[in-house]
Symmetry: C2
Subunit: 237 residues, 2 copies
Amino acid sequence: MVKDWYKGGDKVYVAVDCIIFGFDAGVLKLLVFKRRVAPFEGRWSLIGSFVRPDESSSEASHRVLKEITGLDNIYMKELRVYSEVDRDPGARCISIGQYALIRVDEHDKELVESHGAKWYPLNELPNLVLDHGKMVSDALERLRTNAQFYPIGFELLPQKFTIPQLQQLYEVIFQKQFDSRNFRKKLLSLEILKKLDEKDKSSSKKGAFLFQFDSDKYKQIRKKGFSIPLFKNQDVL
Amino acid sequence: MVKDWYKGGDKVYVAVDCIIFGFDAGVLKLLVFKRRVAPFEGRWSLIGSFVRPDESSSEASHRVLKEITGLDNIYMKELRVYSEVDRDPGARCISIGQYALIRVDEHDKELVESHGAKWYPLNELPNLVLDHGKMVSDALERLRTNAQFYPIGFELLPQKFTIPQLQQLYEVIFQKQFDSRNFRKKLLSLEILKKLDEKDKSSSKKGAFLFQFDSDKYKQIRKKGFSIPLFKNQDVL
DNA sequence: ATAGTAAATGTAAATATTACATTTATTTTA
DNA sequence: TAAAATAAATGTAATATTTACATTTACTAT
């Protein structure tokens, strides 16, 4: 029931749009889809939805993410609200940008295809509808900022990964090369990686040891009151 | 004109609520106001408004902030969207939390009073309507996080301030004492403070030199690709 | 002239970062 | 089965930053 005093307000459409990052074959990719219905039929768009009466914006974005990728329990954070008056010529409609990091190896590729969705390397993105291109560049900036201060890179790698893989990811995110000895030393010094007794031999004869992100340990450290900036000299952007 | 394909969506009320921080008499304060009309007449609330058809959420929050404090050009950032289904029993209404840092010495005190608004020290806050208490604690957390990595403390101090004042502010934000010699050294080493030829004698016979935040220099540094974490060992939270 | 007060300053020890080259483990090939 | 090939793994010395800690300075009030 809507109380009288709300009658002064103007209702608007509220949507979520997901900026979904993945790391595959050494490059950062974004999941976009080709619209099959109006508006913007046939054009590329972020994956989104109206927020339904029975869900929050966060629930809405997790719902569509699951619909398209089959994935639950995804790293997803609010980016910002896009509410410029004329952003959508069809109606007053605000959109909440939600950026997500997923493990490409874990998602349901057939489901993605069946929805007309496709992974594009960030530098080969097609033009997107409305302000979705802006959402992507904002999200990329946010990803870079957050990756400086928090260990979120792990969200983009398989559960088990090698140090060289991790380094490659950070080099792609920050567009910068790191010294492999110093990179390894620094990451291991954070004490948030569990070394496994297993090697990945896909990229060398010697094989590289696999590691897992130790999120319990990370939470402990955070609880004690520390945050972990990955690189001290933050000249990574 | 609303196109047909939007008819599937459900419209909702969209509001902004401002979490307004100030630093006064050595304590962090929040600006809240006593509602004079329904809903929640007589109860304390954040300062907010519906987002109007002709403005973005950012414009809406700057508008109400100006209405109440007389201030323009305020540091204000989106905190997050509060869209839980039952957050407002009167109607489906989502709210965009916007947190702001203002210089208490620059705001229009009479205007604030005339609107029934009042500054409360953070630890003496009255109960607030709806989820506004949660907004405040979220905003405080965000303030602390951001103050670790970015020089935003200056937004809460007068344009001209002393190093001891700056230190006191950071001690309040982080609930932690700093060594005055190291604090001064660290802050000056960032090279974003302009020393003035002027002293503030309000708190000592000797007087303390006044400084200004040099935002041009800070922008230059950022442009070159550096961010500036204020404290290396981020054990400040 | 002296006492009182907060501001300002310096340094040595500990820690973290950087720059840089060789050895190791394994597979493939000769 | 020895040798070649390849990426992974490791160590160290030089530099920079952070930390811990006590005295002097500038000014006002008595």
